[in-house]
C-alpha cells in the first residue's frame, strides 16, 4: 500500500472512533442523576413549564430519536447550552481551550527537552552516576502526584521566596489580556507587541508548566533510555563502531531508530495532559478547560460535562492521528 492510501485509511478511521466516543458520551449523559429540564427551568417552575422545557430539549422523544438528534447537533458543532453560564457550551469551550493548550503544550515541549537528551546521555553512558540519578528521577517523577508538587512549589517559590507571581490566573490582575487572535496569551502579546503582558504571561506559565514537565518527563525519559540502549545493541551500530565512526554519528544513528517509541510516548502524554492538567489548573486558577470541567461536574451541568468529555477525547484522538502520521515521516521503512 502506498503512503497516500495509508493516510486516507488512517483519516477515515477517525470517523468510527469519533462516532463511538459520541455514542458513549450520549448514553453517559442519560445516566446523569436529576432531570435536566427541572434544573434548567428552576425549582419554582410549574409542571407546564418543565414539560415545555422537556419538549424544547427533545427529552420527551424516544431515546433512539434523542440519540439521532444529538448526533446531528454534535455534527454541527452544537454541544447544547450550559445552564450554569447560560451560554453555548461550544463557545465556553472554545473560549477556554487556548488557556489549557498553551499550558500543556509548553509543558510537553519542556518535558521532551528534558527527557530526550537525558535519556540519550544515560543510554550512552550506562552505570554512571548521571545514569543512576536519571533513572531514580524517572521512577520517582512517575509516582509523584503532580498536584502535590504544584502546591509544594507554590509554597516554596511563591510563599517563601516570592520569585513567581501569585498562583491566580494567566497574567497579573492589573493587566488586560492582549487582543485575542489565537487565544494564547504569549503569542497574542507578541503579535500586538505588548511586552509587559508577554512577560507577565510567561511568569504565570513558568510554575504550572514546569510542574507538569517535571512530573511527565519521567515516563518519556524512561522510554528514551530503554529504546536508545536497545538501538545501541543493534548490528548496524556494532558495524558503525567497528568502522571507527565518531561517537556523535553513532549516537545520531541510534537516535533515529530510538525516536519512534519516544514520539509515541510523548503523544500519549499530550493526550493524557489535556485531562490530567485539571488538577494543576485548579491550583493555579487557570481558567482553562480543566477548571470548566470541575465547575461543570460539581454543579451537574450535564451539557457542559459531556461537551468537555467529547472535546478532550477528540483532541486526544487527533493527537494519536498526528503521531501515526509522524511515524510515516520519521521512519522510511514503514509501508503499510
Amino acid at each position: 500500500m502506498t503512503a497516500g492510501r495509508y493516510i486516507v485509511r488512517r483519516l477515515l478511521l477517525l470517523v468510527p472512533q469519533v462516532l463511538g466516543v459520541t455514542t458513549i458520551v450520549f448514553f453517559l449523559n442519560r445516566l446523569l442523576p436529576g432531570d435536566p429540564a427541572y434544573m434548567i427551568a428552576g425549582s419554582l417552575a410549574t409542571k407546564d413549564v418543565i414539560a415545555s422545557v422537556r419538549q424544547q430539549l427533545g427529552l420527551d422523544l424516544p431515546i433512539w430519536d434523542q440519540y439521532l438528534v444529538y448526533l446531528g447537533r454534535v455534527a454541527h458543532g452544537d454541544l447544547g447550552k450550559s445552564w450554569l453560564t447560560s451560554s453555548q457550551v461550544t463557545e465556553d469551550i472554545l473560549q477556554r481551550l487556548p488557556a489549557t493548550l498553551e499550558l500543556i503544550t509548553l509543558a510537553l515541549i519542556l518535558a521532551f527537552c528534558i527527557a530526550l537528551p537525558l535519556g540519550m546521555l544515560t543510554a550512552l553512558r550506562p552505570g554512571t552516576i548521571t545514569d543512576r540519578l536519571a533513572s531514580a528521577y524517572g521512577m520517582l517523577a512517575g509516582a509523584m502526584p503532580d498536584f502535590w508538587w504544584a502546591l509544594f512549589l507554590v509554597f516554596v517559590l511563591f510563599g517563601k521566596l516570592q520569585v513567581v507571581p501569585a498562583p491566580i490566573g494567566r497574567i497579573d490582575l492589573s493587566l488586560l489580556p492582549p487582543p485575542q487572535v489565537t487565544g494564547l496569551y504569549t503569542v497574542d502579546s507578541i503579535l500586538s507587541g505588548d511586552w509587559p503582558t508577554l512577560w507577565s504571561a510567561l511568569a504565570h506559565l513558568a510554575l504550572p508548566a514546569f510542574t507538569l514537565a517535571f512530573v511527565y518527563a519521567g515516563p518519556i525519559l524512561k522510554m528514551a533510555r530503554s529504546t536508545m540502549s536497545q538501538a545501541l545493541l543493534g548490528n548496524f551500530i556494532q558495524y558503525a563502531r567497528a568502522s571507527g565512526l565518531p561517537r556523535q554519528i553513532i549516537a545520531r544513528y541510534a537516535l533515529r531508530n530510538a525516536l519512534l517509541p519516544v514520539i509515541t510516548m510523548t503523544g500519549i502524554t499530550y493526550g493524557y495532559l489535556i485531562g490530567g492538567a485539571v488538577l494543576i489548573e485548579q491550583i493555579f486558577a487557570w481558567g482553562g478547560l480543566g477548571q470548566y470541567a470541575v465547575q461543570a461536574i460539581t454543579s451537574s451541568d450535564y451539557m457542559a460535562v459531556s461537551g468537555v468529555v467529547l472535546t478532550t477525547t477528540v483532541f486526544s484522538l487527533l493527537v494519536y492521528l498526528t503521531v501515526d502520521l509522524l511515524f510515516l515521516a520519521v521512519d522510511p521503512r514503514i509501508r503499510y
Binding site: L28, G159, G275, G276
Partner: protein
C-alpha cells in the same frame, strides 16, 4: 515461574529497588488493616480549639484547619486508598481476563467488537472520564471503585488477548486440540494458567496508578470526602493553607501518597520485567 529461596536471594541482590518497593507495599498493607486502630487520635473527629497547629510532640504532623490530627489521618488513609485501588484493580482484572480470553481465542466478529470498544474506552482521557463517571454514578466510595475498574479494564483485555494470541499457536495447544479437547477445557486448563503471569505482574502497577487516580479525584472533590481519611482530600483541605505558609496539612499526606505509589510502581516494574517473555 518457580521462585525458590536461591532465586529469591538472587533477585534481592540484583534488584534492590524491588525490595524497597515490597517493603513500602508491606507497610501500606499493614496500615490499611490496623491504621485507624493504632492512630493516636480519632482520624474522623476534629479536636476543638486545636485548629491548624504546627507539628509538635502532641501532634506529630500538626493539625489541619478543621482541627483534625494529621498523623492519625495519614496512617488511617491507606484503608481508604488501598481498598479502592485494590478492589478496583481486581474488578478490572476480573472483567478483563474473560473478555481478553474471548477476544484472543475466538477471532472474528466478537473479538473485533471487543477490541474496538476497548480502543474507544482507552481514547478517553483517564482523568476526565473518571470525573464524569464518578459524578454520573454519585460520589460514593463504591462508585470510585467501579471507575477504577472501568478505566483499567481495557488494559487487561489487551494484555490477556496478547498472551492468548501468542499461546494459541503453540504446539501444546495444538496437541490439546488434537486430543479432542473442547475449547472451554483448553482455555481453562491450558491457556489461562499460562496467560495469568503478566496479569498478576501488572496488577501492582495498576494499583499504584489507581491510588493516584483516587487521590486526584478526591482532590477536586469528585471522590472521597472529608471526614473519611484519604490522602488526596487531605491535600485539598490543606491547599488553601499552603498559600499562606502553613505547609503541613498538605505536605505530609502528599509524601505518604508519593511513597505508596512509588512502592507499588517499583514492585510492579520488577514483576513485569520478570514475566516479560521478550526480555528473558
Amino acid at each position: 515461574m518457580g521462585l525458590d529461596s536461591r532465586h529469591l536471594r538472587y533477585l534481592i541482590k540484583t534488584r534492590p529497588s524491588a525490595l524497597v518497593g515490597a517493603a513500602i507495599v508491606a507497610v501500606a498493607l499493614v496500615l490499611a488493616v490496623i491504621g485507624p486502630t493504632i492512630a493516636p487520635f480519632d482520624p474522623r473527629t476534629a479536636i476543638p480549639g486545636d485548629q491548624l497547629k504546627p507539628p509538635s510532640f502532641g501532634h506529630l504532623m500538626g493539625t489541619d484547619d478543621n482541627g483534625m490530627d494529621i498523623f492519625s489521618r495519614v496512617i488511617a488513609s491507606p484503608q481508604t486508598d488501598l481498598t479502592i485501588a485494590i478492589l478496583g484493580t481486581l474488578g478490572a482484572i476480573a472483567a478483563g481476563i474473560p473478555l481478553g480470553l474471548i477476544a484472543g481465542y475466538y477471532r472474528g466478529f466478537v473479538s473485533e467488537i471487543l477490541m474496538r470498544v476497548s480502543d474507544i474506552v482507552q481514547s478517553f482521557p483517564v482523568f476526565i472520564l473518571g470525573m464524569a463517571l464518578v459524578v454520573v454514578t454519585g460520589q460514593e466510595i463504591r462508585n470510585v471503585i467501579y471507575v477504577v475498574a472501568v478505566v483499567n479494564c481495557p488494559i487487561y483485555v489487551r494484555l490477556v488477548r496478547g498472551q492468548v494470541l501468542f499461546l494459541r499457536e503453540r504446539p501444546f495447544i495444538e496437541a490439546a486440540r488434537a486430543l479432542g479437547g473442547r475449547d472451554r477445557w483448553i482455555i481453562r486448563e491450558h491457556i489461562l494458567p499460562n496467560a495469568i503471569g503478566p496479569v498478576v505482574a501488572n496488577a501492582s502497577v495498576t494499583i499504584g496508578w489507581a491510588i493516584l487516580l483516587t487521590a486526584g479525584l478526591s482532590f477536586i472533590g469528585a471522590g472521597v470526602r472529608v471526614p473519611t481519611p484519604e490522602w488526596g482530600s487531605m491535600i485539598a483541605v490543606g491547599a488553601k493553607n499552603v498559600y499562606t505558609g502553613e505547609w503541613w496539612p498538605s505536605v505530609f499526606p502528599g509524601i505518604a501518597l508519593a511513597f505508596t505509589v512509588l512502592g507499588f510502581a517499583l514492585l510492579g516494574e520488577t514483576m513485569v520485567d520478570l514475566t516479560d517473555r521478550t526480555r528473558r
